[in-house]
């Protein structure tokens, strides 16, 4: 009876249209199930027992990816209630924390996953360094990883401003002032004033959209945090994973 139902589903036009292969109860169809599926194709068709060993990679990169996914999901939940306006941002955060059902959970998940992502990126890179996995011919993927590290840190920093409390305000004020000491591009940096950079045209002004941390800075950081940087990270993640799979040094991982 169940077998008949299963066969009926598997043989149906709809199933074949979606999956384009038979029920994965044989090696061929199992292989098809992996590499004809956009969500699974990043995974190898077959995994060796040795690749499942934890002790070499400790799954640090995978945990980082998991945290990035958690951050994307919880971040979208937070965006439903958050307004990047100086008059509302802090109140929205308070509402999320104390009034909205599940708001505090989403905020805490977002916050701790963010801390965790920075931590696990660092651990992952330490592991890669200690096992020498950055060496030729995989230097390019190390560089992609460094770009992802920088993006992770900038994501943390831009997200820091959004609660619009004293901590956020001064942390970003200090960070933006550091940008103003950039050589050649900052008003306070070496050769900055000589090249004509003033508080109204240097890199800090470009970052904040003003001379102080205000509304322009808030909306700028919001757009960077919620749209630009996650997109950049996603693109670089795709390249990162593509290289790992195609280089194949790690075996069918």
């Amino acid at each position: 009876m169940l077998q008949k139902l299963k066969n009926g589903i598997v043989d149906s036009q709809i199933f074949k249209s979606i999956f384009r292969h038979g029920y994965p109860d044989n090696d061929l169809d199992r292989a098809y199930a992996i590499f004809s599926n956009v969500f699974l194709h990043i995974h190898p068709v077959k995994v060796r027992r040795s690749a499942l060993r934890m002790r070499y990679t400790f799954c640090l990169g995978g945990i980082t990816l998991l945290l990035f996914i958690i951050l994307s999901v919880t971040g979208i939940w937070l965006m439903f209630y958050y307004t990047p306006y100086t008059g509302l941002a802090y109140r929205n955060i308070k509402d999320l924390q104390f009034v909205i059902f599940g708001g505090n959970l989403m905020r805490d998940l977002h916050r701790f996953a963010a801390h965790g992502m920075v931590l696990f990126v660092w651990l992952h890179m330490t592991r890669v360094f200690l096992t020498g996995a950055y060496k030729a011919p995989r230097e390019f993927n190390w560089i992609v990883g460094v770009v992802l590290l920088v993006n992770t840190l900038v994501l943390s920093w831009t997200g820091y401003l959004l609660p619009w409390d004293q901590l956020a305000y001064w942390a970003v004020t200090v960070g933006a002032k550091m940008a103003s000491y950039t050589p050649f591009l900052g008003q306070n940096g070496p050769w900055g004033p000589q090249l004509g950079f003033l508080p109204t045209n240097d890199i800090m002004f470009m970052l904040l959209g003003g001379t102080v941390v205000g509304q322009n800075a808030l909306i700028r950081f919001y757009v960077l945090h919620c749209v630009v940087l996650p997109l950049v990270v996603t693109v670089f993640l795709a390249v990162h994973f593509w290289r790992i799979r195609k280089d194949g040094f790690s075996g069918p991982l």
Binding site: G209, G210, Q215
Partner: protein, 206 residues
């Protein structure tokens, strides 16, 4: 006519044997095409750069019209400290202003008329009436803001963003910048001393 690269009117030509004028034309078209692409990219880059710099800001003002010289007496005037974060200082030779931002970590120092010193409440930096460092951790002397005269009504205009910050020298008294170096246009306006004024109260004002 099997080779589509050959011109319709020149059936004898092949890809490798183009006549020189044809070669020159293609080279020119490639160069022109890439120049167009390059110009478009450069234009977009410039437009992006311009886009990121707002030409209008809704920020607290940084330029203040502070009235005539005659409304200021000799010495340190604190009336603009809260609104504009600067002091107006008038001495026997003229008038200037100093930004009320401690050069150590950016707190607001207080003026103590009895001691004739600015003292920063955060980490104890001490400045004299010229902004020279007399003690504490401050690494440089106080900033001086731009001060100009409105050509229409003669009132003074202070711009707190344009600042004078010469390198100080280490002396036994503290970090020093000669007044001559700081009393320059547009950070200083020469003006006769107020009537009946003497600098007995503070010799630094002479």
């Amino acid at each position: 006519m099997t080779n589509p690269a050959a011109g319709v009117g020149h059936p004898e030509e092949t890809e490798s044997g183009l006549n020189p004028s044809e070669k020159g034309r293609r080279k020119f078209l490639v160069a022109a095409g890439w120049s167009l692409v390059g110009a478009t990219m450069a234009g977009s880059a410039y437009a992006t750069y311009k886009f990121l710099f707002p030409p209008i800001l809704y920020e607290p003002p940084t330029v203040f019209k502070i009235g005539h010289v005659s409304t200021y007496g000799l010495g340190i005037d604190e009336r603009w400290k809260l609104k504009g974060r600067f002091w107006v200082v008038r001495n026997m030779r003229g008038i200037y202003n100093m930004i009320s931002i401690c050069r150590h970590l950016g707190c607001t120092p207080n003026w103590f008329p009895d001691q004739k010193r600015f003292r920063c409440p955060c980490h104890g930096s001490i400045y004299d009436a010229h902004g020279n460092v007399r003690g504490g951790p401050a690494p440089r002397t106080l900033w001086r803001g731009q001060i100009t005269r409105d050509p229409l009504d003669g009132e003074l205009i202070v711009n707190t963003v344009i600042r004078l910050d010469p390198d100080p020298v280490q002396t036994p008294q503290g970090l020093w910048v000669k007044e001559k170096v700081k009393e320059i246009s547009p950070f200083y306006i020469g003006h006769a001393a107020p009537p009946g004024a003497s600098c007995a109260s503070n010799r630094l004002l002479c």
